[in-house]
């Protein structure tokens, strides 16, 4: 998956990966304790992902 194909899927009406990650990384029931890894602890360093993650984090920290 490249940035170009992420953009294509956004443009063609297939569920956009960005829209999906906006929801799947930030929200949904979050139950901590006993989980193997908490997403908040993960340092996601890839350039392609960073913009998604930043926008999600911004939203979470404003709650």
């Amino acid at each position: 998956m490249t940035l170009e194909s992420a953009q294509q899927s956004a443009a063609t009406g297939e569920t956009s990966l960005v829209d999906l990650l906006d929801r799947l990384l930030g929200k949904g029931v979050v139950i901590s304790g006993d989980v193997i890894i908490s997403l908040a602890d993960v340092d996601l360093v890839r350039i392609q992902l960073s913009a998604v993650i930043q926008s999600v984090r911004k939203e979470m920290s404003s709650l």
Binding site: M1, L3, A6, Q7, Q8, A10, A11, T15, S16, L17, V18, D19, L20, L21, D22, R23, L24, L25, G26, K27, G28, V29, V30, I31, S32, G33, D34, V35, I36, I37, L39, V42, D43, L44, V45, R46, Q48, L49, A51, V52, Q54, S55, V56, K58, E59
Partner: protein, 257 residues
Amino acid sequence: MVTETGTYVYAVGRRLDGQLLSELEGVGGAPIRTIDHRDLNAVVSTVDLDEFGESALRKNLENLDWVEQTARRHDEIVRRAAAITTALAPFRLVTIYRSEDAATNRIAELYDDLVLALDRIDSRSEWSVKAFSQGQPLPAAPAAAADGGGPGAAYLERRRAEIRELQEAASDQQVLADQLFWELTHGVAATRRLAPQDRRLSGRSANMALNATFLVDDDRSTEFFQLVDDLRARYPSFDIEVNGPWPPYSFAVLDKP
């Protein structure tokens, strides 16, 4: 050597018939099953910790291909489960317990909160609404001339005036986007504003002025579309995009995290 496994939880719902999901493959390929606690059913599958353990996850979450594949499979399972119940609370991507017992215990502990969360989303779906404006991207303001004079000064002054105009236009768009958002909230059960997506990710040259999501009663979705259509006519400077229905990802929130 036996591979260690964990229990991946996709969602918790009420009165889910696990048989109807047993043909599906979860992330990593193992079959979907449900684990039950009172009237709640968790949709789960077994995952290998070689792929979903802590160190593997740290690496895999940085791989966009892996993230996409996992997110799409997770979404598919959640949608299939949502299709057979009215109340389904999706869990966040890669929620994995060390054992089935650990997952069950946690659901038992959180039973009351899960029931409240399910009550809030029962017979409702999530709809995404984005508004794009055709405004130009803001250029960076040039630095003030060091000596305050010379032939460059007039140019810089002109350039700053242009940028002020663009900034004012952008701020007008923001006010309009806020107003549009409030108008959209009429008659919806709940709403959240998400951060506007970066242009590079939205794939649109237009600026995303509004990225909002709404929890709408399933029997009121027609009214919601009508409202959006009315607002399209009243906000011609925006290109308004509606997308859904989504399982209520943004609204399945526990009171006590």
